[in-house]
Point group: C2
Chain length 506, copies 2
């Protein structure tokens, strides 16, 4: 056991590892067709040739969109490939705007179905006028970063399909959202006999039912969409070749709120008034130690008697048996002493510090999509049960203040955050923005470029160095810089014209 893991761990400690995929379950994926061929994000508008050139690990060119209009709100984007860690840039990105059309206000239905109620039930119709029902299109603005590992398959799937799943899940509850906002009758959905929704009688509604907020529904839609995305990959991996896994970070602007859903170690930060508001938590083997340990404790069969769910400050040796040593159990945040037993010699479920921390000596991420067939090297121990696609969703009120042209939301992959901090990002944003005129259409593209440039640094000799001759990032680096002032508050209940204002670029 110890020897078997030694080589894996040593490799892991080197920081760069091609994660071995067990291919037993999915047949032989080599023989399967690829669903989405390797590509860079659409809005970069790269030719085949350019995609090839962009993957130059030696010069690491920074890519920005050719046409700024291809991104909502003239948002900025820049990316650069890794320094040789993998053949392709395993980061992916998407930016898209779409309109949600509530099923209950579809053409031909708006004057009939929505307003038809059982005559016997009292319905407050004061808000329900045909004018109000013209809010038939709810605009959504969606930005996402996916950081792939051990292959490009999962990140490409997520780039192509996650926004579809988010839209589907929002459509599931849009009627209820409008009803909560007072824009549809309170009984809807479910008031009608033949509705697909379970009826929720207006009188007799539990306090729990009435306490569910619009935020709860959007958070739930994002959570469900992430789970569905992962299930989608699980299903299609027997038909198509979908290799590797990826983390996911989504920023969704919807009904005057910014929802940031994060499953992984990309990070979203709002830079505003010279300070930062972190809009996501980094999920890593270290930050998720307790969740992972708890699972290993409750389902020890997942550890195959080869790993221990207990955490020790260092590897336990045979000579430690019978002595007292600090440890942490699943539910502990602090450290206490225990007497070391034979079983404590097993390899720890979570091992290594910081960026080197690994789950089951194999993987450095704990959330995201894919990795369904990933196994511990040379074993039949599955990694996937320890990973989860469920994101944590944080919410920011877009109407909480008036945003200026210098207020931005930064989405970055870990390649950026590994060599910076929230504070440093505030400095970089302020420094960069003051060089570009507020009316300059390319202002946020240049900002994104400056941030990527900082993290990539410059090649000095054989090493990439950033400010103060510190090590720069050798990882793939991706940045969105999204100007918050471009979001126009919804004017629900007003004419349709005012709605479309909030999508100036679409």
């Amino acid at each position: 056991m110890l020897n078997r893991f030694k080589s894996v761990v040593e490799n892991v400690m080197g920081g760069i590892q091609s994660i071995p995929h067990n291919t037993e379950k999915a047949g032989n994926p080599e023989s399967l067709e690829i669903k989405y061929a390797y590509a860079r994000p659409d809005f970069l508008q790269l030719t085949h040739e350019e995609v090839h050139v962009s993957a130059d690990h030696a010069s690491r060119p920074i890519l920005v969109p050719r046409s700024i209009e291809r991104l909502p709100w003239n948002a900025g984007y820049a990316e650069v490939i890794n320094g040789g860690k993998s053949k392709y840039n395993e980061d992916q990105a998407k930016a898209v705007q779409f309109m949600l059309k509530p099923p209950s206000v579809q053409p031909n239905s708006e004057d009939n179905r929505v307003l038809s109620k059982k005559k016997t039930e009292p319905v407050e119709l004061k808000h329900i006028t045909t004018t109000n029902l013209s809010i038939k299109n709810i605009p959504c603005t969606y930005f996402a970063i996916f950081d792939g590992h051990a292959g490009t398959g999962a990140a490409l799937m997520a780039m192509n399909l996650l926004d579809y799943h988010v839209k589907e899940k929002l459509l599931d509850c849009i009627d209820l959202i409008l009803s909560k906002k007072g824009l549809l009758p309170p009984q809807s959905p479910g008031a009608e006999q033949n509705s697909i929704y379970a009826a929720t009688p207006r009188y007799g509604m539990t306090s729990k039912e009435s306490s569910i907020s619009v935020e709860d529904l959007v958070c739930g839609a994002l959570e469900a969409a992430f789970v569905e995305m992962d299930n989608h990959i699980a299903r299609e991996r027997t038909t198509f070749r979908i290799i590797g896994g990826c983390t996911a970070l989504v920023a969704l602007f919807f009904m005057d709120k910014l929802y940031v859903a994060n499953a992984g170690d990309c990070r979203a930060v709002i830079v505003k008034d010279g300070t930062s508001i972190q809009m996501s938590k980094d999920f890593t083997p270290e930050s998720e130690r307790q969740r992972l340990q708890y699972l290993g404790y409750l389902q020890p069969e997942l550890l195959h008697n080869e790993f221990t769910h207990l955490d020790f400050p260092r590897r336990v040796h045979k000579k430690d048996i019978g002595k007292r040593m600090l440890y942490r159990d699943a539910q502990m945040s602090g450290w206490a002493y225990k007497t070391v037993e034979e079983g404590d010699l097993k390899f720890p479920l979570v091992f290594g510090d910081g960026k080197r921390a690994r789950v089951l000596a194999t993987i450095g991420v704990t959330r995201g999509f894919g990795d369904h067939d990933l196994m511990v090297h040379d074993s039949n121990i599955h990694i996937k049960p320890f990973l989860t696609p469920v994101p944590e969703v944080k919410v920011y009120d877009m109407t909480s203040c008036k945003h200026s042209e210098d207020d931005v939301l930064i989405l970055g992959s870990d390649g950026y955050w590994d060599v910076t901090s929230n504070e440093k990002t505030v400095d970089l944003v302020l420094e960069s923005l003051k060089h570009y005129h507020k009316g300059d259409q390319s202002r946020y593209t240049r900002l994104a470029q400056d941030l990527v440039m900082f993290a990539r640094g410059l090649l000095k000799g054989r090493a990439w160095k950033t400010e103060g001759d510190k090590s720069a990032s050798g990882d793939d680096i991706t940045i969105f810089a999204i100007p918050l002032y471009r979001y126009k508050p919804l004017n629900l209940g007003k004419s349709r014209t005012s709605q479309t204002n909030s999508i100036p670029n679409s």
Copy 2:
């Protein structure tokens, strides 16, 4: 199934329930001796007769200590029995100060053992002088509230024994704590060949080992002490009659920090400068929904096919099958739609709103001690796996500011918090304290009494009413009011005399 739970749930919904204990496992507890007879806290110095009189459910007399000197720092304490919910006052309390004597500086050892090192190892001895080693007594001040249910046994055990377990766990790591503070050589403990501790070589210490802080060790000691307390009850319940369960809230003043460890729905709040700092989180079936659901999901056998781990906004009916309904899974914070299936008709693992929420239709608390033999009514479904003794520990730096005579830590059982809030408590504290002179020895006793009086209210007709004729608390109510200015910062490394200053009443 549905009918079987109906009566239990109806009873639960009434708010008062004598939780049935399954006695199968522990033999017949009726025949076992009681370990600790029913009593009120020592510092109240009640006679047998007075204990009896204090349990008058009709008049509900508020009890305060006869002698103020019996409590550390002239801290305030007051309690009142429930309005008839149970025969005895099921709250218990403890206040105690003790000295920690590090094993390595025990008499006869301080000039030998601690300073003896392997001659070959370089040891920084600059801080290690006999003067410094006079910090042989580390003072600890401990306050605790236990809120019992379904019997007084567990709360009485915890009142009598938890401070012992806390002390033992602190002693386990006191050498390491002193070493982290630079008051013992860095290798200690474990540097010696025959030490009971696994050696942690100074060179080659992992970054994890060196990053473990004093706070981590004290938090770990509290966590481990709570677990040990629960194990202690589990062991002794076959020998003694230990009925019921209890929540636990501990405030520990130790080495210039206040540690608040909470396992249950008692609450600790610092009132300072006219604002409140909540020092504990309320653990209830609602706040712990995700932990409980996750356990039910991972170990479905615990639910015996009678309960579902899924959460719905209302009970699911047969006619809902095939329709879409909102739900929350274990890892979701929001709500999404699912199609209702047969299995969703099972009774929910967590059901009911607010104070009426119950785990497995039985119990309204989720953390604490005891309840080892508690079963779902008329079934073989165990409740205990869903309960945990592990506390959450919050830390407050006692040296972060100079505390005034009006800065207090309030510990209260849920009987108090059910009818108040943090904000209301700030008002009550300020209003009360201005009536009593700062030099008045009974100032904090009077404060505690005023808080209990507010929550208990006055008997109007047949109901206890508080301010504005609102319902008062019919539960047992317990309050500690601890003056923070009485804590004297440690002067580590100084003479022993200055140490003992921080225990003026001991």
